[in-house]
Amino acid sequence: MDTKVKNKKDAVAKEDIGRDIRLELFRLQLELRLCEKRAYDLFLQNLIKGTSHLSLGQEAIAAAFGVAMRPDDWTFCTYRGHAHTLARGASMSGVLGELMGRECGLLGGKGGSMHLTDVAKGAMGSYAIIGAHLPVAAGAAWSAQYRGTEQVAVCFFGDGTTNIGAFHEALNFSVVWKLPVIFVCENNLYMEYTPISSVTAVEHPAADRAGAYNLEKIVVDGNDADAVYRTATKYMDRARKGGGPALIECMTYRHSGHSRADPAKYRPEGELEKWLERDPIKIYRERLLGLGIVEATLTDIENEVMQQVNEATETAKASAPPSLDGIHQHVWADGGAAWRN
């Protein structure tokens, strides 16, 4: 082995984040990216009928938390939750199948793109009404605290969400009860089509409010998976040990529109281009190469992930529409929908 490479390998080893984790961060970001891109293709083919909200460009956050979390930790996310659900290990065919309204979908077609859930993997639901899942995540954290399990609840939401009442209630409640919950604001600069700066009293919609809950102000580069990973680890560890909640604002940008209906014409010229230069996956790939990981390793991962996405797509496409029986199932714990005897 030539010494240059060896030195670089040592460089990787000496980093605080080890090689395996780095590769997993790379792989996972890629999975999220390719799966979202595939969702977009399927929408163009009219195979996805409802709405969908892609995380293209925001993958570093979901991936970093996904890698940092314990398998029994809980994720709560929004309609923009494909990435967060996949990042906990939900199957790609389950996700794509749900988007396509197929039987193999994670929710059997009942929930759709905005409600992806995989309880077995700790993905405790995607919530489509702004703000509601923040207190719900606090409640999960309460149950962990109550039972002493050292589980952590992680709750993802957007910049726009910081202006709704439930945000405020959940933050105060969690701090007063010292709950093991991490609130992660993905600040992508926009609510739907409206710049967050035009409707918010402070510059950092989450971080500048941390003080209102006696929390530390934390702003991270949300396009840098390592930075997010380090922050995630630090505050999740603290929460597990009884140190209470954290509010983390990750700066990022979505490459596509708000939802499939949105061409994102409201963006100022050049803004997207500037952010594309800071594409989290591009950055991360360069960093890994810089740290001496050989190109082939990355290419292998890329090919493998692409193959998985292809397979998942085929599985989902081959899956039947859900049986109409499902309509009357699972309103109640007894499996049915009867409201009368």
Partner: protein, 325 residues
Amino acid sequence: MAELTYRDAVAAGIAQEMARDERVVFLGEDVAHAGGVFKATVGLLDKFGPKRVRDCPISEQAILGAAMGAAMTGLRPIAEIMFSDFLAVCWDIVANEIAKSRYMTNGQVSVPLVIRTANGAGSRFGAQHSQSVENWAMMIPGIKVVAPAFPADVKGLIAAAVRDDDPVLIFEQKSLYSLKGEVPDGEHVDELGRARVLRQGKDCTIVALALMVHRALAAADILERDHGISCTVIDVRSLVPLDTVTILAEVARTGRLVTVEENPRLCGWGAEIASIIADECFWELDGPIIRITTPHIPLPSADALEDATIPSVERIVREIREKID
């Protein structure tokens, strides 16, 4: 059998379940140290300690959201919303989250929680603290709804609600908190979804809920005694699930239906039951279906005005006399 107030039956029901099951926790505003503004939960903090009986900030969305998250992950919370009117500030959590999660996730998520709340008029509290809003809840698929009229039912239905794997909203009628009644000793668990026939008559079936059950019973006595009209009185008890079997059978037998509701006129449970009867029991009906309700107005506060809005025994008697013969 011990005699308990409706109020004390609340604490007794919660205590029974907390003693039985470590997963049962209780939260709300001023519920722990103060024992609740209606003093319905006095003693629980002392018995079960601050880890399980918790005072909350004025944050109803956080309270019900936290209850939901805890329920999804293994606890069985009982949450108090002080006045049922305040359900409006956390309606999203009730109607869009708690009620729908199981269905949306195709059964993956379970939300076994209980929401207790003080419902109804009679205290001269005015339009924002006196509403009967059980119909708000009945409208929403995915949440069970009960409203006890007697202390024994309070205890038994709380127990049944805690043990149920679905979310249950319990409406406690403010005007009944000081009502006394026999409550079975020892463990007492009722069943959700059962109406109760409190008296049987042959001319007419009166279906009522909560405070109106007592007024319907009093009216039935007068109707029988003074006017020779013999009425069945049914305490619905549970709006969801709804015991249509019992109601249909009695209406078929008596040929007439009168519903007595404390809620405002439009779209209440009375309309729902009336429309079920008008469909499924039409050929057995001997005359129009009568709904007696509070007028479709916000509630006035002054005692004279409030008393004139909620259906009274006299009004029930009068309407039935005029319309049923």
